[in-house]
Point group: C2
Chain length 382, copies 2
């Protein structure tokens, strides 16, 4: 089975490409490498020194004998996408190839427009390419749990059955995203749903929670295969950033009260969820939505866990509440469903002291690379 991983040079994409390759899939990687360019523009960098994608792919081949096809280009360039689809002929497309940072999208008008145009046009192009060149191909699209926002009712998986004035319908779950980035994912979901309806595209929208961790069995094999790990105010996400802050003796930066509750998963579960989605494709014309996370925490709970683990290894970890740069509820109801991936075989890696301990130790190994001036949030929603 042939799986094309778009955004295969990124944090989730690289781990997924290696995992699928290891599991016997024929893997193609598509990446424009623009994320590395944005890092340069913003003056930020991954904690870990990541090798060029060409070296990564070559090293994987040396170590395992498994080769992966590499297509450097941008899916917003339709002729490039057509040529890639013709040459690789995928059975499944895993689409990580989007601008994925909420703060990046909120920097200014230009970044908001860049994010929405890049993500929407890339996904529209993919839908047209599937229709034109491989209509049976299964699109596995990365969405985000942030599409739902924080409604005062349970969050279902993509759809909700509504009773109203004596009638009933199963409708798309209402979306209340919290940034221009999250909005772009909502727009994608609506566009894909429509393409499934009119063209019979088979698609799975994976509304993923916040991913933490860095090592998978594959990326841990060799330094050249190491994954990126972001800690800066633009691309760094809560739990990974806390572990790095603990490692370097920087206070854990909690935005507001820290009562914001979100969904989380280990990167080892991300790669497994992708495999489950590919191995169990959506029906023709089906727009299937899975909520891809394993546990829910609020931000203060995570900070306390990291502080506790840090104390266990002799680190003095402080927690600092910053004025919240985002516009979001800090105390709210939150209860999301995630039964579908479990019922298809996902066995979660739950968050544990030992995972946090190893992540902090991993961060300590690279702590001399940290640029402390990049940690605080500099982008505000207002």
């Amino acid at each position: 089975m042939r799986a094309l991983v778009i955004g295969g040079d990124g944090y989730c994409g690289w781990a997924t490409a290696l995992y699928l390759s290891e599991r016997g899939y024929e893997v193609g990687i598509v990446d424009s490498l623009v994320r590395r360019h944005w890092d340069l523009q913003l003056g930020v960098d991954t904690l870990t020194p990541i090798a060029p994608i060409q070296h990564r792919v070559a090293r994987w081949k040396e170590l395992t004998g498994r080769s992966m096809d590499l297509y450097i280009g941008d899916i917003t360039d339709y002729p490039f996408l057509q040529e890639t689809m013709k040459r690789f002929a995928p059975d499944a497309i895993v689409h990580f190839g989007e601008q994925r940072s909420a703060p990046f999208s909120m920097i200014d008008r230009e970044h908001a427009v860049l994010t929405q145009v890049n993500n929407i046009v890339g996904t529209l192009n993919l839908l047209y390419a599937i229709r034109e060149l491989c209509p049976e191909c299964h699109l596995v699209k990365l969405g985000t749990m942030g599409e739902y926002g924080t409604p005062n009712i349970d969050i279902e998986e993509g759809y909700i059955t509504v009773q109203h004035n004596g009638r009933e319908d199963r409708l798309p779950y209402p979306k209340q995203p919290g940034s221009y980035y999250h909005l772009s994912k909502v727009h994608d979901s609506h566009n894909i749903h429509f393409a499934c309806k009119i063209w019979g595209v088979r698609a799975t929208d994976l509304n993923q929670g916040v991913v933490y961790g860095v090592l998978t069995d594959q990326t841990a094999l060799d330094d050249i295969l190491v994954n990126r790990l972001d800690y800066d105010g633009v691309f760094g996400t809560a739990l990974n950033r806390f572990c790095i802050q603990a490692a370097i003796g920087y206070p854990l930066t909690v935005y507001g009260t820290g009562g914001q509750k979100r969904s989380f998963l280990d990167i080892r579960d991300t790669v497994r969820c992708i495999e489950i989605a590919i191995a169990n494709p959506a029906e023709k014309g089906e727009f299937r939505v899975f909520n891809q996370f394993t546990e829910q925490f609020n931000i203060m709970e995570l900070a306390q866990m990291v502080k506790h683990v840090g104390a266990g290894i002799g680190l003095r970890v402080e927690i600092q509440h910053l004025e919240n740069p985002r516009v979001e509820k800090e105390e709210h109801y939150y209860n999301a469903k995630n039964t579908q991936l479990r019922s298809l075989g996902l066995v979660p890696h739950c968050l544990s002291d030992s995972l946090l301990d190893s992540l902090v130790h991993f961060a300590i190994r690279y702590k001399d690379r940290v640029d402390k001036t990049q940690i605080l949030p500099q982008v505000t929603w207002r």
Copy 2:
């Protein structure tokens, strides 16, 4: 009070600009004139010969003494938009400035991408310009009833209160749009809602039904002020197109069974609804949604009415069922609410034989301009 009408050279925009000017508003018109360019590209034309916008504005001044400011440019060009906003300093912005045809958006990938990028970027630019230059300004944005699709429950105005697992919330009404154009309006709605939340923008989203009719008290004053009237397969909409078909002895083209039920309003009510929205601005931070229509019909009902009126003036009108070029339900539940504009003072012009009679006679006057090769739908959804 100063009202900037974006898309003021278009069918609804031109009628609105004149109406507001007549009612004593200081009116500015913004238009890129790209719609006239698209007509040229597609080889289609309005039934009525419309004067250049500069002549239209000059004639209005001659006849009424009222001047309107004219800004020729594209709101996707941010420096142009900034300059326009600074010079005109609007109290209200009426935003008609979008690609507004479903078939146009479905021509091919390029037109889908053009529609979504044009509409989304224009609206994002407006939101940033309001935030930057006139944060108190009221944005009156044209959406469409097509954002809702045809759910099996009543369609509310923008929001729905959902009970679920013993809890309750008022949520954005779920959207199931039926073309890449309709999707672009859904994307706009989500983006505007977010801007209201984070920046305190005041906005009214007018989910308008299908507009019919051509004359308003103002556009009827003079031939130079005449409004456009589209009958072609791309820009022509159901009822207007039927009247023109009756006038020239062309069968009324009903797509599929004609059981598709939709919301409609007279263009004289469009202009009044805009005035009502402007005169009763949304609160700071409020994303207000009105359903802007007066009556609901299915397509066969409209065809039968036109056939009946045609017979009364000696025209032999046939009804022809075409294979439906769209993907849509032809038999379905449809019941939409429209109480808010009524409660603010809208007194509808209901569809009548006399309106249809005058519309058919109006079409007869221009019937030599009809290009019959442009009537049939040439764009299919599949």
